[in-house]
């Protein structure tokens, strides 16, 4: 798997337009959080891991209102 293009994409993304702290209203909505249903995600992962050979991949942190 050639990782170089992925690294370049990631680097390019950091140059994306910055969303200012006072413009985080939409991202602060609970349904826009990447981890807004952790229990459901854990249960799904449990079901799929017991029927398939792959697992997980999700992490945590980031997005949201960016407060504090």
């Amino acid at each position: 798997m050639n990782k170089m293009p992925i690294c370049l994409v990631l680097l390019a993304l950091t140059g994306c337009a910055t969303v200012q702290p006072w413009e985080r209203d939409v991202l602060a909505r609970p349904e826009m959080s990447l981890d807004n249903a952790p229990l459901e995600a854990a249960i799904d992962d449990h079901i799929y891991f017991s029927k398939e050979a792959s697992s997980g991949g999700r992490g945590f942190g980031g997005g949201g209102c960016g407060c504090n």
Binding site: P21, R29, F49
Partner: protein, 434 residues
């Protein structure tokens, strides 16, 4: 009697929980300082043809101690009954197998895919984690997990660190999780690739527990793309070592021309065919790349994710998932679609041909085979006037596999080669605050 779906599932739940999927998220509306917020769920999973049925209940709680310090814990209980495909292939006559305990036999009717002996198993799992800021832009999280069932126990711990950049538009996080699992199979651990013996004959089984260690590393990157879009990309590395076999899975030894399972005459009660216990390597390294995007189209929100996984067992998989959340009155409706495809492990064998040298590793476990799976479902959620939320979700899961042409021998072509699976999932959820 054990179904070893739970064998791997326990690890799965633990690993996933270890890597933070239950942490640091708003449960109900953010718990005020001093408040406890809860997320509870009841799930029914039922496969067609009387295979596996699972009922599970879970409660997760989050307590916010103020200043971004949070404690969360999850308690899960589930009851698994039924059986899944044992790995032996279908035959045009009834097949008899010795049960894992070695004390009884069970029979599969002619022309049906053999399933493990039916069992009942209850599992309990407990996970807890603590999150707090280390400095203004740094967040650390540590957690522990434990689960137990009749033949399996798991303990694990995890640690993660996240750092924000660029006015919190970018977050980089790194995490490590470690777990140790002990399996004590019913009837003892069978010697790999040994033959299934008669009732009362445990000469190929070894008592005592086997262990398995797993180390997981995660490197994640979350980036706000614009006012309405957020992206996350994760790279994961996982290393398992120890006892990775499923002690209950079999392979049928077949005639190299007809493809029919070799017959055997038991002394007293026992198998009426030649079946070998599977053998897997004692190490497995997996890597995956996962990306997800959430985008808001005004009120509706779309979530899309993709994961690529590859491991040193030769399995490659792709998972794509899309959900679209539409507000509906005081609630929302969220249709979901998931597509999964995996390639077979290098040592996956539909059956073993008699006369050919035994390979070092071989498994007919359908979970290591070549298949596609689709899930289609819908979730409906509704907020109550007190700020709590209930939800209901229904899904249909369908798995369709295939055996590589060169592995289909003789008469096997006329029979069901791969135990296709379909299941219904219904889940109720309730989030509340105290």
């Amino acid at each position: 009697m054990k179904d070893n779906d739970s064998f791997n599932a326990t690890l799965a739940a633990a690993t996933c929980a270890l890597l933070g999927s239950t942490v640091a998220a708003p449960v109900a509306a953010q718990a005020e300082d001093g408040g406890w917020s809860f997320d509870s769920t009841l799930l029914y999973y039922g496969e067609s043809d009387n295979r596996v049925r699972d009922i599970s209940a879970a409660v997760s709680t989050l307590r916010d101690f103020g200043d971004e310090r949070k404690l969360s814990g999850t308690l899960t209980a589930d009851t698994l009954t039924g059986a899944s495909a044992s790995g032996a292939i279908a035959l045009n006559r009834p097949q008899t197998f010795t049960s894992p305990s070695g004390r009884a036999v069970y029979t599969t009717p002619a022309d049906e895919v053999p399933l493990d002996d039916t069992f009942l198993d209850t599992r309990f799992a407990l996970n807890a984690s603590w999150t707090q800021p280390l400095a203004r832009l740094y967040t650390v999280s540590a957690g522990v997990g434990f689960s137990t069932e009749y033949d399996y126990t798991h303990i694990g711990a995890n640690l993660s660190l996240a750092r924000d950049f660029n006015k919190r538009n970018t977050t980089v996080n790194a995490g490590v999780a470690w777990s140790q699992d002990d399996v004590d199979p019913v009837g003892g651990r069978p010697t790999a690739l040994s033959q299934m013996l008669d009732v009362g004959d445990n000469s190929n089984k070894r008592d005592g527990s086997e262990s398995k260690d797993v180390l997981d590393l995660l490197l994640g990157f979350t980036q706000v793309l614009n006012r309405t879009t957020v992206l996350r990309v994760n790279y994961s590395y996982s290393d398992s070592s120890g006892y990775l076999n499923d002690p209950y899975k079999l392979l049928s030894v077949v005639d190299p021309v007809t493809g029919d399972t070799l017959a055997r005459v038991p002394i007293g009660q026992g198998p009426n065919g030649v079946y070998l216990f599977e053998s897997r390597p004692d190490a497995r390294t997996k890597q995956s790349l996962y990306a997800e995007v959430k985008h808001s189209f005004g009120a509706p929100v779309m979530h899309f994710s993709y994961r690529y996984m590859t491991d040193d067992w030769g399995i490659d998989s792709h998972t794509g998932e899309v959900r679209l959340r539409w507000p509906l009155g005081d609630g929302y409706i969220e249709p979901q679609l998931r597509y999964y495809t995996q390639s077979a492990a290098d040592f996956y064998r539909a059956s073993l041909a008699n006369g050919t040298a035994l390979p070092r590793y071989a498994s007919a476990d359908f979970r290591l085979g070549d298949f596609d799976a689709t899930t289609i479902g819908v979730k409906y959620g509704h907020g109550t006037t007190t700020g709590n939320e209930w939800s209901i979700r229904a899904e249909y899961y369908q798995q369709n596999g295939s055996v590589p042409g060169e592995q289909i021998i003789g008469n096997q072509a006329d029979r069901e080669q791969y135990p296709d699976l379909s299941a219904v999932i219904v889940q109720f959820g309730y989030r509340f605050r105290l």
